[in-house]
């Protein structure tokens, strides 16, 4: 059986256990145990009804774990004598799980880990590998997060903004271990999109699809970053772009704009240009204006300054950049780019080298070093 199909069932199975009287903490553990057993046993001999199998095995594991707990045993006995309700996968259960796992009281590293396990159905080992931490550390992080939200009701609408933020963080984490977190974030985004008709959910899903579409073109040999204007656009995934654009258009038609829709609109305008020269920078600046109005985010202001540089010329871009907090990571890199566009090659090269020293990832550092080297080579010719 395809592990993704198996993982799709995890929220419903947790929900089924909770409805039978299990607390979330134990139910989630029991389902993780059942999932590990399923991954081992099913490759040879998949059951006819995977959900029923998971519910049965998880429930048995839950009971086994609870044997020592007297007060809980009383409750279990009461539940056990009642006819067991069939595992009806419930959309509300799954949505409630999203809200619980991304609860605003949780630090974002805990919320992302718990979401990947309880909603995504990933194993602790996979999540640990994806975030490059020891498995025991990740197990503790998840367990502490669960204790923190213990006792919160599962049936109340939560904060959708934190759920979207969690998925956005997972998407940006990208690629590590044997799990493709970007693809996982898209899978969860699709699931969430099917559960709620909030336009921002659609906006985030569209944003992720449109960026994911560029993946093959974005990374060169030895992990080299290829900037947007130099990407081979024939390598962009057209199906992913088409899907993203369709979802975005439907969301925009609802006329309830939000930050993810605005970002997706910018990505869609890039996707629309067959070459970098055909990019509609004027419209992109307008979308950055919207984004800035919605979020006030300094990063949006920084990206807007670069877009202004494309739409109205580098001097206008530099003027816009002067209004942006210079302490922002990438501020120097943006300045370098705009000075390069203004043909101030020597200054741009120095700024790229300076930006490389302030880079927050090895890939960006290497890219910026290479940009400095490229301009210095140009200057020598």
């Amino acid at each position: 059986m395809n592990p993704e199909l198996l993982r799709d069932q995890v929220p419903a199975v947790i929900g089924a256990l909770v409805r039978r009287g299990a607390d979330f903490y134990s139910a989630e553990d029991a389902v993780q145990d059942a999932l590990l057993q399923a991954l081992g046993a099913w490759s040879d001999d998949p059951p006819r009804d995977p959900v029923a199998w998971l519910v049965t095995v998880a429930w048995r594991k839950f009971l086994d774990r609870g044997r020592a707990d007297r007060s809980r045993r009383a409750r279990e006995t009461a539940v056990d004598v009642e006819p067991l309700a069939g595992p009806v996968p419930s959309a509300d259960d799954t949505l409630a799980l999203y809200f619980l796992c991304a609860h605003p009281s949780l630090p974002s590293a805990s919320a992302t880990a718990l979401t990947l396990r309880a909603v995504g159905g990933l194993t602790t080992r996979q999540i640990a590998a994806a975030y490059l931490v020891p498995e025991a550390t990740m197990a503790q992080r998840i367990s502490r997060a669960k204790r923190r939200i213990a006792g919160l009701p599962l049936d109340r609408p939560g904060d959708l903004a934190t759920v979207l933020r969690v998925l956005y963080l997972v998407f940006n984490e990208g690629y590590g271990g044997d799990v493709d977190l970007a693809a996982e974030a898209i899978r969860l985004g699709r699931q969430l999109h099917a559960l709620t008709d909030e336009p921002e959910v659609a906006g985030l899903l569209a944003l992720m699809l449109l960026h994911h579409a560029r993946r093959a073109a974005r990374i060169g040999p030895a992990g080299r970053l290829v900037p947007l204007d130099r990407q081979d656009r024939t390598r962009w995934d057209e199906a992913s772009i088409a899907e993203g654009v369709t979802i975005l258009q439907a969301a925009l038609a609802r006329d309830r704009l939000g930050e993810y829709q605005a970002q997706a609109a910018i990505a869609a305008l890039h996707a629309d240009a067959r070459t970098a020269d055909e990019t509609d920078w004027v419209q992109i600046v307008e979308w950055y204006d919207e984004l800035l109005r919605l979020t006030g985010s300094p990063l949006a202001a920084l990206n807007r300054a670069v877009a202004v540089g494309e739409a109205d010329g580098p001097q206008a871009g530099l003027a816009a950049l002067a209004e942006v907090d210079a302490a922002l990571p990438r501020h120097t890199a943006a300045a370098a780019y705009l000075h390069e566009r203004a043909r101030d090659t020597a200054l741009a090269a120095d700024l790229y080298a300076q930006a490389a020293r302030a880079a927050t990832s090895a890939a960006e550092r290497d890219h910026l070093t290479r940009e400095a080297a490229r301009l210095r080579q140009q200057a020598r010719r």
Partner: protein
């Protein structure tokens, strides 16, 4: 046996070859260098000798305890003279000789003109767990 190969921004013995900063190389030289480092790590993964590799930003500070109820003392940014670690690779190899051999290879990464940069790397054995059988 595990060994730490430490790469320094500064604070090594006098360089064997005076090498311009990387942003003054040609883009092709930069690419060749990065590709070499990439291939080296991939090869050690293939031989089962790679454990971990990380790069560090040049910024940071010294921090120490300053007494009950007081915030820690932060001394930074680093002075220009401070020895500065740029990153590390942890390898798990059969012997000190193998660790030295690999450090030598890593130090031969190409620089300007495609010539090895002869960079100093610090090689340090990990302190291992105590042996179970002691008599």
């Amino acid at each position: 046996m595990k060994y730490l190969l430490l790469k320094h921004y500064r604070g090594t013995p006098a360089p064997a070859v005076n090498c311009a900063p990387m942003d003054q190389w040609t883009p092709q030289e930069v690419d060749a260098h990065i590709q070499y480092m990439h291939d080296f790590a991939a090869r050690l993964e293939g031989t089962g000798e790679f454990v971990d590799g990380q790069a560090l930003a040049p910024d940071g500070a010294f921090v120490r305890y300053d007494g009950e109820g007081r915030p820690p003392v932060v001394d930074g940014p680093f002075p220009e003279t401070k020895e500065l670690i740029a990153g590390w690779m942890v390898i798990d190899v059969a012997s000190w000789e193998r660790a030295v051999e690999l450090a030598g290879e890593l130090s031969a990464a190409p620089g300007p003109g495609g010539k090895p940069i002869h960079e100093w790397l610090e090689v340090r054995p990990f302190l291992a767990a105590p042996p179970t059988v002691t008599d």
